[in-house]
Amino acid sequence: MSDRLFRLLSTLGAWVFGLVWALPLLYALWAAFHPSAFATHFDISAPVTTGNFIRAWEAAPFARYFLNTVMLVIGIMIGQFVICTLAAFALARGKLFGGEILFALILVQLMVTPDVLIMENYRTLQKLGLIDTLTGVGLPYVASAFGIFLLRQTFKSIPKELDDAARLEGASTLQTIWRVYLPLARPVYVAYGLVSISYHWNNFLWPLIVTNSTETRPLTVGLQVFASVDQGIDWSVICAAALMTSAPLMLAFLLFQRAFIQSFLRAGIR
């Protein structure tokens, strides 16, 4: 086969494939932005409307769900930053007995995430009185093996001399972390933050189990409740709701595409 022909066929294949890949989303966009009558009926002259979004917004407490998700996602991220930084520093600078074993034990969580052990973890939350609270949704994820792993690797690559220099000037351990390690690891924190936010924005099973009221439900659970109970089969409204719940992440992704992709790459695993 000649080079040109191959290139042409390959491009054509890529385009057909790309279109197929985009089809479900394009279809959802079509339904969401047109009146219900046109949801399954394609007509270029169909009027464009934002009515479905307004109806979805009014039919369920999405404003509250948004607030819950934002608080949850930010709370988890801050908790992870603090707790994982401290642990990662201790492990990276290798000054604890049994550090290797501890690290291996921590990595178990990469495989056994809190949602695999839903029964036991639910019981633990019950004992702590944290059922149906945002704290309860976030707590099991705050000490993240992935975050500790990522930050430990980063801290290890920071020259020991910088650490020593800070100590000579009389900085305490926490001051050293704050002044030396945090600034040098900033890109990793950005990457980890983006990965953490997108993971917890999308997380579903655990919040579904833990929450049972409007005041605590994050968007994913709210969307599920909305789609399964309230709506019957008005697809335009459900599509609008589905797109609405994903919109902030999607917009952030479109604006910072490169940063997102770099972050996922740097982070490796979600």
Binding site: S10, T11, A14, F17, G18, L23, P24, L25, Y27, A28, A31, A39, T40, I83, C84, L86, A90, L91, K95, L96, G99, M111, V112, D115, V116, L117, I118, M119, E120, T124, L139, P140, V142, A143, I148, F149, Q153, T173, S198, W201, N202, F204, L205, I209, L219, T220, V221, L223, Q224, I238, C239, A242, T245, L249, M250, F253, L254, I261, L265, G268
Partner: protein
């Protein structure tokens, strides 16, 4: 602190400080991973407690129930099928996407966007969009099959198509994510290798098989292990799209655990099922060590 504490005391202090720094993480990890993990196995040897009566020790009874429970077998079979089909399919498509987007192709950024965007969507949102896509009679998929002269299929309602229909959503969401790892790997391949191959008049397929494929192998293994772990934790789309039906055709392990634990409140049996899931994840992690050795991709 005194200006010159004895050396030994200082070392001990440093170690104590290290443990104190790690303490919050250790406590939380123990509370939500290690202790519940062990407790799950422990619980699986007890009956489900009723009211205030403490649970009775029942030995292997829960596991015997599992052995004779057809739904448990279906869940296991479905899950293995799920892994066996979605993992290679996602990887193959991810590599194809990466090869397309890595080269100089017209409309590269639009293609990359089309491939990667599903990854960002919450699974619940994606699931609802796909339910609509699969709707009998009116859904786009049926409109397409009808346009080609086919009949109307109830994709999610028919036991023979429901599981593949869920698999499609998983592949749709995962392939674009894995694509970026292949893109990064392809950028690492030295162009001189391709030039040399061209000088030898090697065909496209030979170049792929002899250069590209072996060089992206570490990425393939890394992605495969992660996809495998994910395949055993699939649950969102089952809850959102089918609820395990029709006739348990889409019941997967984690979903069945959720159902037994939180709909039937049979905690003892749910613990036994969780122990099975833990064992499977343990197997995957052993596979990971065997394949990836000392964390090839983790550096």
């Amino acid at each position: 602190m005194s200006p010159h504490p004895p050396r030994q005391a200082r070392t001990i202090n440093v170690h104590i400080q290290g443990w104190l720094l790690a303490l919050p993480a250790i406590v939380l990890l123990a509370a939500f991973t290690h202790i519940p993990g062990i407790a799950t196995i422990f619980d699986s040897f007890y009956a489900t407690p009723h009211g205030k009566r403490p649970a009775a020790f029942v030995g292997w009874a829960q596991y015997q129930t599992m052995w004779t429970d057809p739904i448990a077998w279906t869940a296991l079979k479905n899950n293995l099928l799920y892994a066996l089909i979605t993992v290679p399919l996602s990887i193959g498509l991810a590599l194809a996407m990466a090869l397309w987007v890595a080269g100089r192709i017209k409309g590269r950024s639009a293609l990359r966007l089309a491939f990667f965007t599903p990854t960002i969507l919450p699974m619940v949102a994606a699931a609802n969009i796909w339910i609509f896509f699969y709707t009998p009679d009116y859904g786009l998929l049926n409109q397409i099959t009808r346009a080609f002269g086919g009949g109307s299929v109830n994709w999610l309602g028919d036991p023979s198509t429901a599981l593949p229909a869920l698999m499609a959503v998983t592949v749709w969401k995962e392939a674009g994510f894995f694509m970026i790892f292949y893109l990064a790997a392809l950028q690492q391949v030295s162009p001189t290798l391709y030039e040399a191959a061209r000088m030898e008049n090697a065909g496209r397929w030979t170049i792929f098989r002899r250069i590209t494929w072996p060089l992206v192998m570490p990425t393939t293994l890394f992605v495969a292990v992660n996809a495998l772990i994910n395949a055993f934790r699939v649950v969102d789309q089952v809850i959102a799209m089918t609820g395990g039906g029709p006739n348990n055709a889409t019941t997967l392990l984690l979903f069945y655990i959720y159902q037994v634990g939180f709909s039937f409140w049979d905690t003892g049996y749910a613990a036994a099922l969780s122990a099975l899931l833990l064992a499977l994840l343990g197997l995957v992690s052993m596979l990971q060590f065997a394949l990836l050795g000392r964390n090839v991709h983790y550096r």
